[in-house]
Amino acid sequence: MASSSRLAIADTTEAIPAISTADLHKHYGGLEVLKGIDFHANDGEVVAILGASGSGKSTFLRCLNLLELPSAGRLHIFGEEVKLRPGDANLRIADRKQIDRLRTQVAMVFQNFCLWSHMSVLDNLMEAPVHVQRRGRAEVRDEAETVLKRVGLLERANAYPAQLSGGQQQRAAIARALVMKPRVLLFDEPTSALDPELVGEVLKVMRDLAAEGRTMLIVTHEMAFARDVSSRILFLEKGRIEAEGSPQQLFGGGVNERFDQFISRFSQG
């Protein structure tokens, strides 16, 4: 029933997808949160992941960065299979080095920013490139300053996170992800913790990133943003992909009843 309404995306390109999952499962104890997700995102795609609270959006995103280990299924990142081995409840990491390397390519932006509070903004940006990717300090610093300038925070480079507004913190967190030169950006409700008047500045940064052709997976409740910016919508319900398609198709209505119901709640609210 779920697959009937799934719309095939034109697979014209034979290119390797940026990220793909096959039959991804995740359960916590007896609770099955992801019930077999088959998904792929091509390079340059902006995928908005929508769904009701508790539908498994965050869990799915966190599995892509291996912050959560799936219970079953396979995960490829740019054609490279993430090495997992069977474990008790969840799969286990088979190759730490591989995971740590892939994580720098699949950067994550969190709802609560999660900037390191004991470091200045600049140090936050330089931390992973210098210590994980082992790039040269000077090069990283230049890169960090370029990125900070992009998100409009260059003059706050030496401030500590506690001294920034929420919107500034989230822009700094996006910058922190960008300096790693990731090939995919994951966003988990990046504006949900922000005061309404600060949402715009963060969305603007994300719009610019989308416009320059970055691969992004965005969990969001900002429907207008999802409709305007994404190239594809992924609608999750109860741990399954309930509907999938271009924003024009899905937001046009009539494709999937559940999705229409979900949307109507937002347009009313």
């Binding site: 960065n65 912050l67 730490r96 995971i99 740590d100 390397r101 892939l102 994580r103 720098t104 950067a107 994550m108 969190f110 609560n112 920013f113 999660c114 900037l115 390191w116 509070s117 004991h118 470091m119 200045s120 931390e127 992973a128 210590h131 994980v132 990717q133 500590y160 996170p161 506690a162 001294q163 967190a173 922190r176 790693m180």
Partner: protein, 237 residues
């Protein structure tokens, strides 16, 4: 006998100033070494108490319960007499008859270190538990290894949070070193006792020891507050 206070506490041939100052150095050295040993034990203890394995947690719990619940002086006796029993047995069975004991300074540092380690375990543990999980997760998400995460994120933040509690523990350690006078370490209190005995001026010399403890506590306290303020800088608006 009729020397004035100045002469008694001075640095002349009749004065006790020199020995007292030296003893203050011993107090400070014993306290510092004991506190440092306690920090190592505290980090180990906190790791045990935070471990996933139940056995390790039990060991950690046992350590803190015993050494925070038993009088410090008893712990000093344990290591003082216990140390000499172990050493004497080892020497005797190795063909060296006689009675042996470890130097009082070493015993004192171990005793003070083990006790303060139990308190520092709690300080480190509760500081760790108060860390923001999200920041650790953000590190993981950037591909940091466990060790790197520990070194760059967890350790500095835990230290910052634990520092006020560690400052209090340092003050107790400093005062606890006075117990080492009973096992013959010539620290401040014992030196004051010697002076009091030979001059029959207990009020003066124990008073002097008290003042010196106050001064050492004050100065080291100020240094620690400085450190605290320095480390807290990122969290001020």
């Amino acid at each position: 006998m009729n020397l004035g206070i100045i002469e008694l506490l001075g640095f002349g041939s009749q004065g006790w100033g020199g020995p007292l100052l030296k003893a203050a150095g011993v107090t400070l050295a014993a306290a510092s070494c004991g506190f440092f040993l306690g920090s190592l034990l505290g980090i180990c203890g906190a790791s045990l108490k935070l471990a996933r394995a139940g056995v390790l947690r039990t060991i950690g719990h046992f350590y803190t319960t015993v050494f925070r619940g038993v009088p410090e002086i008893l712990v000093v006796y344990l290591f003082y007499f216990g140390g000499s029993v172990v050493l004497t047995n080892a020497m005797n069975s190795g063909g060296f008859p006689g009675f042996y004991s470890l130097p009082a300074f070493a015993i004192g540092v171990i005793a003070v270190g083990v006790v303060s380690g139990a308190y520092q375990t709690e300080a480190f543990r509760s500081a760790f538990l108060r860390l923001d999980r999200g920041q650790i997760e953000a590190g993981t998400a950037c591909g940091m290894s466990k060790l790197l995460l520990l070194r760059r994120i967890i350790a500095p933040q835990t230290l910052r949070v634990a520092l006020p509690a560690l400052g209090n523990i340092w003050q107790s350690v400093l005062k606890e070193t006075s117990l080492l006078s009973v096992i013959g370490l010539t620290e401040l209190l014992r030196q004051a006792g010697t002076a009091a005995g030979s001059t029959r001026q207990p009020l003066l010399f124990y008073g002097a020891a008290a003042v010196m403890f106050l001064i050492i506590g004050r100065i080291t306290g100020l240094i620690l507050t400085r450190m605290e303020n320095h480390l807290a800088k990122p969290w001020r608006r």
